[in-house]
Structures are given as structure tokens and as C-alpha cells.
């Protein structure tokens, strides 16, 4: 039997261009199994492009990337749960039908998908809302339903693209509690965020700029290496250092 790779994600020199734009410009990053890794960087840094490449939606222009040892795509997708930036759900369908549908897409039988949906509705505190059409849910509840759909097939890796944008602080805390629970149960999580408080909750953080990882480490390591009081300021230090050193 082949040995299980120790890395959940391995990217080396990853390049993705859109016309003249180099959204990923030689990004190299390794995500260990069982960790929560935060991607932090300004808009246009390449975070979403990286996540979409891992989800198998974009092919790399150059470089190499694997998810649990396999190239991203339909076959690797059974291990990946992808929570899109805005809730991508069928508005007219009830919450339960959405979760069951995505479960069926990932190969669950109808019975399995319904049982799993019941578990997830409990987990994301949407019990009692299963028959409510998505369009009638509040913004926060939609995000919870969105997370439930991403989790339905028990993925080993969860890709969360700015999961708490536009969500109130109470719900944000609840979502992070869910992420922590999932992680404790063995799920590797890659999350993009602009909220430094969230970055502090990650085991490690990769600072992304101009399509590359400019620094990777635990929040404490990054702050110490930059001599900065926060990850936000550490980002600016690493960014300026990179420019001073000729952006090599």
C-alpha cells in the first residue's frame, strides 16, 4: 500500500496567468496534514486563485501542485471541501435539499446524504431550518448552510475563501468554533482572511503578496521575525524587505 503523504498541499513554483496578469507568480507552499493555515494578503495577491487551483477549477500555467499527493481535479476533489466566498447555494431549494444534493454529487447514497445532513444541521446550528428555502435565510445562516454543503462528504481538506466576510462578530466566533472542532477531528483547513484576529487563530500563516508566499510561520514566529506587534504590521515589514531585496 502506498504511504500516505504527510503534506495535505504541496505547491512548488506555481504560476497562473490571466492574459498579461500573473495572479500566481511562482508560489511555493506546503500545508501539513491536520493544521489550520491562514492565507493573509491584500486583494489581488493571489489567494483566491490559489484556492480555486486547489479546488480543481483552474489549471496552473506552470509549476506543480498536489492535494494529498494527487493533482487537483475531479479525482482529488473527494478529499476537498470548498466553501466559496459568497454562499453558492440553490436559493429556491430548502437547506436540507441543498446539503443532500451536494452529498449525492460526492457519491453519497440518498440515505447517507440525509443522515449526514442531519448531523451537519446540528453542527452548524441550523436544526429547525432544514425545510426553509435558502432565499429566506439571513446572511449568516446562508454562510452556515454554505459550510454544511462544503462539509457534507467529510473532506480531509477544507478550503475556506474568506468565510466570515459580512458576518457579525458573534456568528464569526461561532464559525471559528466550528472550524476548530472540525480541525480537532482531523480536518486540514486552508483559510483566506483579511481579519487579523482570525489569522491569530491559525496554527500557521502564509503571507501572500504579488502571487507568492513572502513569509510562512506561526503568528508568533512571523511577529518575532518582523519585530512587529501584529501580523498586519509584520506583513508590511516582510513586503518592504522583499522590495528592498529586489523582489527575488
Amino acid at each position: 500500500m502506498a504511504e500516505e503523504p504527510q503534506l495535505a498541499i504541496e505547491a512548488e513554483g506555481l504560476v497562473r496567468t490571466f492574459g498579461h496578469l500573473r495572479a500566481l507568480d511562482g508560489l511555493s507552499l506546503a500545508v501539513r496534514r491536520g493544521e489550520i493555515l491562514g492565507l493573509v494578503g491584500p486583494n489581488g495577491a493571489g489567494k483566491t486563485t490559489f484556492i480555486r487551483t486547489l479546488a480543481g477549477l483552474l489549471r496552473p500555467t506552470a509549476g506543480r501542485v498536489t492535494v494529498f499527493g494527487r493533482a487537483p481535479g475531479p479525482r482529488a476533489s473527494v478529499d476537498v471541501g470548498y466553501m466559496t466566498q459568497s454562499a453558492a447555494l440553490y436559493e429556491d431549494l430548502p437547506v436540507l435539499d441543498n446539503i443532500v444534493f451536494f452529498g449525492r454529487l460526492f457519491g453519497l447514497s440518498r440515505g447517507e446524504a440525509r443522515a449526514r445532513a442531519a448531523e451537519l444541521l446540528e453542527l452548524v446550528d441550523l436544526r429547525g431550518k432544514e425545510r426553509v428555502p435558502v432565499r429566506s435565510l439571513s446572511g449568516g445562516m446562508r454562510e452556515l448552510a454554505n459550510l454544511a454543503c462544503a462539509m457534507v462528504h467529510r473532506p480531509r481538506l477544507l478550503l475556506l475563501d474568506e468565510p466570515t466576510v459580512g458576518i457579525d462578530p458573534v456568528l464569526r466566533l461561532r464559525l471559528w468554533e466550528h472550524f476548530a472542532e472540525l480541525n480537532a477531528a482531523g480536518t486540514t483547513i486552508l483559510v483566506t482572511t483579511h481579519v487579523m484576529e482570525e489569522a491569530e487563530r491559525c496554527h500557521r500563516v502564509a503571507l501572500i503578496g504579488a502571487g507568492r508566499a513572502i513569509a510562512v510561520g506561526t503568528p508568533a514566529e512571523l511577529r518575532a521575525a518582523a519585530g512587529a506587534p501584529s501580523i498586519e504590521e509584520a506583513y508590511l515589514v516582510f513586503w518592504n524587505r522583499r522590495h528592498r531585496d529586489g523582489a527575488s
Partner: protein
């Protein structure tokens, strides 16, 4: 009322259009295409005469003035008619076969004893064999024959004692008829047109919503292959599309009492094969639309060339040859002929097998195009 606010709104609309070149292109292309087609089809230039087979069996008669053949005169008058192109045929059977294969729009069969009968004052019918399912084909052939007979009565030499009344034109439809109601002839066109239009609208807008809501991205991030997504969509939509077509067909048959001479199942088969292609056409084209407005703008682009060039109004046989070949790529061309053949002419599966094959080829091609279009989602 504030002029500055009104102008701000109007300016904003202009700016939005400036940033949407695809919509601007459609605004320009669609009316130009429509007007060019109308100008061509209604105008006098660039159209081919309708092919008609003429079989002149008339032996003529020897008169004091010499040998006279009224059949030859009629054939000459038909040859001089610019609206039709006379093709020779060896026998009435061969001519009828050419009508059946739609190679010619009709066949004028002039009997062997035509001149003799006219001279004897007995009825002398000229048989015009027509398909019997398409008034745009049989109408001009019958009119041209009547015109030739009329011109003969006006110009025939007085020595032969020619009298017009015994000479008649008798339509001989292979199937269907020449005196059915306009609705009987047009119901197949309306059925195929509305089935196409409604299904295209339903599929393209629904798929656009799937894209814009982000759920398509989610589908493509799952183990589902592009073909899985496409066939799932097809299966989901085909039921609604066929139900819609059945409603139109049922209403036409029971409420409007439209003629369905052939098998209803065969009508349904034609529609199902057509609609499989249309569902996928809707999916494929929705990839090139950014919003519902652009999808709606695609409708005339997709439908008008088919309606104008597909034999729904004007006969395909009179089109400029490159347009005639183009019309063979349109599904509506084949579905119209097939539905008319079954509903008006009562034809069977074997008779329309070629048309079904063409529709099947369109459907398979559209599935392939749909799979390629979905590639844009995983690029």
C-alpha cells in the same frame, strides 16, 4: 423634475453600454442580420427558380396547318416562366420519385392524348404531382402550370379550334393535400418553432443563473465530470421541454382540430431529438452571455436565420446555393420537414429517417459543444 438627475441617469446608461461591447455588438448585428435576410428573401435578386419536373407525353395531332402539339406548347410556356426551372424526367414515375425526394417542388405530367382530347372537346386534365405537405412548394408549381395553360388559350393558333375549358390542371398530392386549412399546414411549423424557442429560453436562462449564483463552480469542484453535469441538466430539462411541446401539440390536436395524419409517437420522437439539441444549445450559448439581457438578445440571432432560411416561410429550394447548404445545418429545417411529413402527409419512420438522423447529429454536436463550453469552468 430635475434635468441634471435625468441626464445623470441617461449618461450612466450610456456609460454602462460603453463597458459592455458584447451587448453593443448584438444591438448592431441583430437588426442588420434581420434586415439583410428580409431584403434578400422579399427582394427580387439572388433567388433561384423553383425546380419543377416536366414530362410531356403528348403525341400531338396532324392538322392541315401541320403537326400541332399543345403539350410542347405548355412545356415551352413553363420553360419561359422565370419563377420555375424546368427539369426533364424520363417518365411520370421518375418525376413523382423526384417530387417525393423533394429534389423538385412538383412534376407536371402532360398526357399522351392531350391535343387529341382538346380537339375532340373532351376534358383534358394536366396532372401536377406535388408533395401535398408544403404550400410554399406546391402553390408556385400549380400557379405556373395554370399560367402556362392560360397563355396557351390566349396564343394558340385559331386553326386548331382551341377552347380553354376542356384543359384543366389537376393537383395530385403524393400525400397530404392541396386544399387543407392553413392551420393544418402551419401547425408543424408553430409546434417546432415554439418548442425550440421556449426550451432555448428556459435552458439558457436557468444555466446562466447556475453560473452567476456560483453553484456551477461548486458542481465543477466536485467529482462530477463535465458530461455528468451536461447529461444531468439534459435529463432535468428534457421532461419540462417535452411537456411544453405536448401541451402545444395537444391543444393543436384537440382544441384547434389540426390534422395529425401520421403517428403521434413519431411527432414526439422528432420533438425529443430536436429538444435534446436545443437544451445543449441553450447551455452552450449561456456561456457567452454575461446576463439575462444578452441571453434574450441571442434569441433573434439563433432563431431568425432558421425561421427565414429553414423553409418555414420561404422554400429552401429557391435560396442561393450557399444559403441552401447553410439551411441544412439548422435543426428547424429538418424538424419542420419531418413534422409536416408526419402530421400533414402521414409519413412513417422510414420516410423521415434522414431528417431524424440530421436532428440526431445536431443533438450530438450540441452535447459536444456543451462539454467544450463547460471546459471554461475548469480552465
Amino acid at each position: 423634475m430635475s434635468l441634471s438627475r435625468i441626464s445623470a441617469i441617461a449618461l450612466r446608461i450610456l456609460k454602462q453600454f460603453r463597458h459592455d461591447p458584447r451587448t453593443i455588438a448584438l444591438i448592431v448585428i441583430v437588426p442588420l442580420l434581420v434586415m439583410a435576410l428580409i431584403g434578400y428573401l422579399i427582394g427580387d435578386s439572388g433567388k433561384e427558380p423553383l425546380p419543377v419536373a416536366v414530362v410531356n407525353l403528348d403525341r400531338g395531332a396532324d392538322l392541315p396547318v401541320g403537326h400541332v402539339s399543345l403539350g410542347a406548347e405548355i412545356a415551352r410556356a413553363l420553360s419561359a416562366d422565370l419563377a420555375i426551372a424546368v427539369h426533364g424526367a424520363s417518365s411520370p414515375q421518375a418525376a413523382t420519385e423526384r417530387v417525393r425526394s423533394t429534389e423538385v417542388a412538383g412534376a407536371v405530367i402532360i398526357p399522351a392524348d392531350l391535343t387529341q382530347r382538346v380537339l375532340a372537346g373532351t376534358p383534358a386534365p394536366i396532372r401536377v404531382v406535388v408533395g401535398g405537405t408544403d404550400p410554399s412548394l406546391q402553390g408556385p408549381v400549380l400557379a405556373a402550370t395554370a399560367g402556362a395553360v392560360q397563355s396557351l388559350s390566349e396564343h394558340a393558333p385559331s386553326e386548331i379550334g382551341f377552347r380553354a375549358p376542356p384543359l384543366t390542371v389537376r393537383a395530385a398530392p403524393i400525400e397530404g393535400g392541396v386544399d387543407l386549412s392553413p392551420l393544418d399546414y402551419d401547425a408543424p411549423i408553430l409546434l417546432t418553432f415554439f418548442a425550440f424557442f421556449l426550451t432555448f429560453l428556459l435552458t439558457s436562462v436557468s444555466f446562466l443563473r447556475e453560473r452567476s449564483s456560483g453553484t456551477l463552480e461548486r458542481l465543477m469542484a466536485s467529482p462530477a465530470s463535465r458530461l455528468d453535469v451536461l447529461l444531468g441538466y439534459l435529463l432535468g430539462f428534457i421532461g419540462f421541454a417535452v411537456a411544453q411541446a405536448l401541451l402545444i401539440l395537444g391543444y393543436a390536436a384537440w382544441v384547434l382540430d389540426v390534422r395529425i395524419a401520421g403517428s403521434v409517437w413519431l411527432v414526439l420522437l422528432v420533438l425529443v431529438i430536436l429538444l435534446i439539441g436545443v437544451v445543449n444549445l441553450g447551455i452552450s450559448l449561456s456561456f457567452y452571455a454575461r446576463n439575462e439581457l444578452q441571453v434574450v438578445q441571442f434569441i433573434p440571432l439563433v432563431l431568425i436565420p432558421q425561421v427565414f432560411l429553414g423553409g418555414l416561410i420561404w422554400p429552401v429550394q429557391t435560396l442561393w446555393p450557399p444559403l441552401r447548404w447553410l439551411s441544412q445545418l439548422f435543426p428547424l429545417t429538418h424538424s419542420t420537414v419531418a413534422l409536416r411529413a408526419v402530421m400533414v402527409g402521414g409519413e412513417r419512420f422510414g420516410d423521415i429517417a434522414g431528417r431524424l438522423l440530421a436532428l440526431l447529429a445536431f443533438s450530438v454536436a450540441m452535447v459536444a459543444v456543451g462539454v467544450l463550453a463547460l471546459r471554461k469552468q475548469r480552465a
